[in-house]
Symmetry: D3
Subunit: 306 residues, 6 copies
């Protein structure tokens, strides 16, 4: 174990201190040494129902003190092997989605351009598009593994091109992503046509019905190994509201946290270069269970990055 972590773990209770993600060393963007970077992106200006996801990075940092390091399935301590760091929050503009998109794209590009792995905590799901733009400039088109209750391929709303339900459509059309895999999708839908975009673009959709009826065996329908640079985006509303009440647009009939863990623990991804956990809304959470689900998911993603 790194001596820094050793000291922290022994001397201070988990509830103590200035909270970074998983009590990791904090690195200023201008002096980054680590190759795996966690950051917050506290923007909720793309939300169409309950706002408040801007508070998620703070709360997830606090709750992540409960995070433990040794993963029995992968037989590794990811904090030792990856030595990740918390680089703080990406600057965003709480009023303007356009300015925020520019800021995210620029800063993520700068952080990741040395092929450092990036793991972000939203914010609403609109933050993923500028991340994908930045990363695809570095890596070319990415595989996208996408957990969500919703397709996020929706058309503009109220005459606005970007909102928290459009990033997959834009990412596909802009060729930031290549093959898309979706987990946790469930109806009802606004209109029947919501299903069409995915079909047209060969998105491989694993609905809740698929996952509940077949279990983990469903992953045999995936390629044996997802090759090339890949990105994993986890919207906590893929979980049932019993497991993730603190989110902006909850949908009942979702995954349990165990089911999401099982999928994450059985994915075979050659090169996971980035990821995010989004749509945690602390003001609708209770007992911080949604933040805790986010923390555990961040931990699983870090393990997939090794």
């Amino acid at each position: 174990m790194s001596s820094y972590l050793e000291i922290v773990k022994r001397s201070y209770p988990r509830f103590s201190g200035v909270h970074t993600f998983f009590r990791l060393q904090q690195e200023k963007p201008e002096h980054i040494k680590s190759n795996a970077l966690l950051c917050g992106i506290p923007f909720d200006g793309g939300t169409t129902y309950r706002s408040g996801a801007r508070m998620a990075p703070s709360r997830v940092r606090e709750i992540s003190a409960l995070g433990r390091g040794y993963h029995p399935q992968w037989n590794q301590d990811v904090f030792e092997s990856l030595q990740p760091a918390d680089v703080g929050d990406i600057p965003i503009n709480p009023i303007s989605i356009e300015k925020t998109y520019e800021l995210i794209e620029k800063h993520i590009f700068n952080l990741a351009k040395g092929k450092k792995k990036i793991l972000s905590v939203g914010g609403d799901h609109s933050i993923t598009l500028p991340i994908l733009r930045a990363l695809s400039k570095i890596y070319g088109p990415l595989n996208l593994i996408h957990f969500d209750a919703h397709f996020d391929t929706y058309p503009p709303a109220y005459g606005v091109e970007y909102h928290h339900g459009t990033f997959v459509r834009h990412a596909v059309l802009e060729k930031c992503v290549n093959q898309v895999f979706q987990f946790g999708i469930r109806g009802p839908f606004v209109v029947k046509e919501d299903i069409d975009f995915g079909k047209q673009h060969q998105i491989q959709v694993f609905t809740v019905d698929d996952i509940k009826s077949k279990g983990i065996k469903i992953l045999s329908e995936l390629p044996e190994l997802i090759k090339g640079p890949s990105y994993l985006s986890f919207d906590v509303d893929c979980l049932d509201p019993a497991y993730a009440p603190g989110t902006g647009t909850p949908v009942i009939g979702g995954l349990s946290s165990y089911e999401s863990q099982q999928i994450l623990r059985h994915l075979k991804i050659e090169n996971l270069i980035g990821g995010d956990v989004v749509e945690v809304n602390p003001s609708y959470d209770h007992g911080d269970i949604t933040s805790l689900a986010a923390v555990s998911t961040l931990f699983e993603i870090l393990n997939l990055m090794v």
Copy 2:
């Protein structure tokens, strides 16, 4: 899509406006055109433990703005095909169950007598008896599909004939209902004799044990098609408190929201003429997840009415 819905969906965010159920057109009881009517019945004077279900219609209306119309399994938009309307709340008397029973029976009779379908949001489960009285005057004895943790065939309590745990007993004895099917029942019970009424009256009981062990296949024990006029009453406490904390008399070890959806989506009912969702208690809810479960159940019932 109907032009009304089109306008609503495009111009206003879901959190906006005067809230009717599912953002439907409101109709005054004296000028009703629709054939499928949603109403609130905000009475909680029959509650024996936590009161507060009177606030459910308000909260369910607000949260129902999250409702979406296209059901992929039934391949229909129920708001287009049924064109349902919100007729407001049935007048009730918050102090007197007797006066409330008269009011409910009279008003439901008047709303439904032209064979309009009626879907109500309680209130506690005591509201279902006067609804069944009104509807059986129109249709004769009904089939009753009943989701609940409890039998609701209990004897009077504290010397009072009517409370929220007696409607099935009265409805059977008064011959408002004919065949009864119960889903989600689970022990412990107050006394062993609680089980007897159901046995005596050929109530077909599907306990949580039955449902958890056999899954959706259990529905093969039902008639292939439930024929004749039927009514569906959904007490949210059939769900586990993890999925429906906001209710008056919660019982652990219940159904998940997905399991309840699965049953609702596989029922074969010839003529569902009415239904209700009861026992939502917003003051014990969090993140409005119980109200959201109620909204989704209302949507499934509407789909069964087509």
Copy 3:
């Protein structure tokens, strides 16, 4: 009493029914008869700290059912004398403040152009600027009576011209308003220069210190009658967080609800043509006490409009 209100008051409990402001008749924007119009403006995209004020019109409508009509000081029932109506929510764009400003200005102008009085429920405080723009096109420059913990004369933040702390600055510079009176202001401030704008533009500031030390007598420093068309904007954060916890940027050491009532009940305003209550954030409220303070303030403003 008007027969409409009579029926409503007698037949339905306060918690019952589709909720309009104060259980008033709802009027569609295209068929407006009333001369005093209440509307919601559920926009929170100008918020710089806790978002969520978009949910305020819904919650305020629900709680306003507790509103009663007879004001003993003014000896009038404002619902009888003004016959106000609820015209629903102004369409807004939850993603874009620019588009929202256009929508608010256009719709408020259309509602108010026949010199109908307009009372709005925000949303964050950024909504007041386009209202003032619309109303000053109709009436010319207005007097502004402004309750707030903050000056709202702040400079752009993060390079964005408009946010929830800038409306007074813009309204003054654009000459939408003429004389400004502020109540409830208190420090600390971000920088000393925050005080300068008000001084330069002869804004009459009544700080919490002024009000606490002199009480209602302080109103003698106002003109005997505030003449000409006037507008009253009430940010609930003028109240202490004990009285209004559910708000975006609370500041301790504020007014009690009684103190705010006293000021509102002793203002002498010749022609109050519009008003708003803003910055209610239900997701940080408890027991709905902030919404209830908003309801009572709306009632006081209606009384000042007679």
Copy 4:
């Protein structure tokens, strides 16, 4: 100090044990030795807005463990001087107000007939009428000291004679009470006529305006000593919602808890034979501050009983 209390205070933390009011000895109704009896009356079937006051006796018992015994103003330890006991809850019928009224009247009469002092925790305010009926059978007409935001002289609602806003009217007309003093009343009112009953029956009303403007001096308008048997009924909604959010029909602009203490500490009552604290609704409370205000008020009333 009594040896019982001594042991309790020293050995067990305040949060520990089976909770009786103020950790007092529990007495079964059939074996009562104490002359000052505390009881719960958990009935909320008279509530016209937010139900839930039935849970108050439980929560108030729990929080009353924080109660301390020595009152510096009266220079006494009321638990030593009065030796009060907790006699449990009066049996009530949660469904029927009529049956509940019979039960309360009968049981209170039996408890009090030996001129034992009775202090009750509601429940909603409808419980006070049968208490007054019982006590006036023993003592004849009583003085009533009444803290409330509302007159509670209202007419029947929805055609029902009894609800939580009518007890003063009935008590006056039935001559259970003689002189009535009201503290904390504030508008607005439903109709102007609400004021008339009090005027006709010489009720002495101290509004919030009176109390805020004159302070404790206002008590000089009372008789120097309130003579004869007296009863004190304290509705927690006399307090501002900031101090008592957990109540059924809150009204802003109310008393602070300090102001209510000041009045209670300066009343001169010759013979206070009973009292109650009502309308605590724990499901709308937070941090149990309303229950704590109730506990402190119970303590002040006990001190007035010595």
Copy 5:
């Protein structure tokens, strides 16, 4: 039915009265007649993350009023057959774990020495060690059936020997327990070495993975009958946070309440002489669902004691 229970069940609503566990007769430690004793142990001074479990006995007593007596699987009413009593709370010292350990060991020994069965409600999990010390003095080494997310075999923390994660290690090393069975364990772990203690001491571990993949069949890996004196300790964090949010150190990916019930209902234990339910933390609970899970678990344990 015993006449005591009969009276209680008929005359008083469940929310009424001074709350003992399951509304049972209260017995003072000095006059104990029952052979099955429930007690509270409100100590949370061993907690390493969220404190507050000291409030659990109070809340569990309140919610246990919802408990019902007839268990359909065992075909018995445990309150009739066992006639258990509530003996109040064990005196603890909220400041000192050492003094508390002495107090618990002494009092549990005194209560149990006549081979009375003891069922305790924590408090955090540190309370179990002194209970096991006391009981093993009476019975010799016990079998331990242990439900938990954590091994509780951890080393001292911050240089302190005892905390809420060490009781199994001490109990094994002190030979208070013999064979240990653990249910609900799940990673991640702090360090890989956390797994070693269990392996060295032949602890039979059933992880969540085991239980989720094999279901109730997993119990065939247990001895056909667990012989000799046994103790069952149930940490509510074995449940997923969706089912038990109110706990000190929650871990996602846990058991559902139904899964825990299934295990409890299929255990074959010859002589269950004691048990506990620990780590309920009411200040992080909502809708009291964690307390309700605790109540139901207490009921299952009582049934296993018959």
Copy 6:
């Protein structure tokens, strides 16, 4: 403005980033440059009623982002003039008050020995004693300005010398403090003798009655200037529960936040060398108003340190 603060204030919204107190520069204990140091002391093992104050430093750090720097009364920006830093949390032992006392005394001594000013955030009030021990070793006996509802001169409880209500007694007897001034004290008390210690030791007590009746003029009873090294300890329960619900042992009838501000703004202290804000308990708070009151008090104390 310092360039560090300038950047922070302009580029990042207040809800963004790794949270230090007031968004100040973080300094590691081994490299301290600043002369005014803020630290957390998250210990709640001395609490006798509601535990949970250990979470206060985290939450206060988060909410302190709302803090603004320019104080109009003192006409200074304390962050510029004092240039304070956040030195993280003092290591504590959550299980043992004795070990924690050693840790606090040692670390505070090391931080303060160069006569750096120290401002701590508790934790419960037991943390103040070891701070005073450390500081009096450096400075000799201190003046103590103490805000509290309680005297904190209580005897040992349950046979334990130290708990959160004893620090003043120990500090006086150990001669860590010299002259003590108490603000906000109010009854009832446990026993009459609680008052004696203060009288014996010439503690100058300003009760709530004193403050409410005389207002700020009461400060004329203080020395014109409090000379010599002084320490200010602020227990948030000096505030009324309406203003500070999130605390361990609330007492109604307390100060308003404005009244506490007024006292703090009018104190004349020659040399304030340290202070603390204690007994914030976030798990009983709502809308974070208690944390916000703590933040504002920290700010006032910083201003008194200049």
